[in-house]
Symmetry: C2
Subunit: 189 residues, 2 copies
DNA sequence: CGAGGCCTTGACCGCGGTCAATGCCCGTGG
DNA sequence: CCACGGGCATTGACCGCGGTCAAGGCCTCG
């Protein structure tokens, strides 16, 4: 059952069996129903999640009250309200399970503890940050350079599972277009 | 002269005198004229820069040929085409000096060497990545939630030096609005 | 002094958002 | 099992933000 998490770790860094055990012992399992909100704005993000099964979504509310989705995370990925996790300030973002989901999680405190006692853990975190940065930057560039149609096509090409697996409403809020526009785009192409 | 760089490092991490010397020995100085391009698309980013005096700008070209500015960096900050530096793939971005600028730089090779021999260097890099991620995310959110007027006001409030110090053209390309729109915004408020 | 950028201002227009009506699917309870 | 209600998707009509194009003025630097 913890196979997934341990092999994820072993893929990224060189680590002894005892250290893996030490790491895994700090993770706990939890099971949440579809639509469950794990973190709300105003709270400080205290946990890092690893998705065993299901899907998490990081989103926030605009001034007008519409949801804007910043990230989707699926099986075998880490996810959290990363800005809050980094800054230790209250989150502006929600973290929500959008399917029935099974998660491992580690507290921020234990996570920072690992950074100190396992040097390689620092490296794993670095890789995660690098990945998050690159993803984020590509997304930023896509908003600047591409119109709604091109953004949709790009998502379809690079990440079809998002379009297939998730309801239109959420795909639209991820592309930062209205549900209506997405509907029109789909019917055309 | 190397004061600035060493005190920057000492602010972020705990490090011995010998180690600081070791780090500094890998940095070289260079002086570049206004408008000089340091990295162009197609090249792989081989260097990390530290700005002693002046200003760098990271930007790229849209399909239409207009410039889109992704980041400005001023005195006492690190800067590079970070995506390329991380992925080791060819850059999509330019790095340009937009004033007469004095820089320290370290090669990517030496930088990665430091990661291996000085554990605290990993931590410094981590902090840099965290900062870059948070900045980037805030920028992403501002594009999603704010219209042109609000983005301009926010920039003016949070980073007035960008608006004051740099030509309109570049401020506009940073806000992702046309020069004309920025001009109209300034004349109104 | 001239030329080339940069900034300003006006006229126009298109992408994509909002609002509204309708249809569809699905879960829930009588 | 069917009826109903609520959320999601579709389609049409309309409109506003901000982009583009163009002309004119100004400043800077060679």
């Amino acid at each position: 059952m913890r196979e997934r998490l341990s092999s994820y770790i072993r893929e990224k860094i060189i680590i002894s069996d005892e250290e893996v055990e030490q790491v895994l012992s700090l993770f706990k399992v939890m099971q949440v129903k579809k639509n469950k909100i794990l973190i709300s704005p105003g709270e400080t993000c205290q946990r890092l999640y690893f998705i065993y099964k299901g899907c998490l979504r990081i989103f926030f509310l605009t001034a007008g009250g519409t949801e804007a989705t910043r990230h989707f995370a699926f099986e075998n990925q880490f996810a959290t309200a990363l800005v809050s996790f980094i800054t230790n300030e209250t989150s502006k973002e929600f973290v929500q399970a959008i399917e029935d989901t099974i998660l491992y999680y580690i507290s921020q405190k234990d996570f920072y503890h690992l950074l100190q006692i396992i040097p390689q853990w620092e490296k794993l975190y670095r890789h995660y940050l690098e990945y998050a940065y690159v993803t984020n930057t590509n997304r930023l560039m896509s908003f600047i350079t591409l119109d709604a149609t091109a953004r949709y096509r790009q998502l379809l090409a690079q990440n079809p599972s998002i379009v297939m697996r998730l309801p239109n409403k959420m795909v639209a809020s991820y592309l930062n277009i209205s549900q209506e526009t997405l509907s029109r785009l789909k019917s055309k192409a």
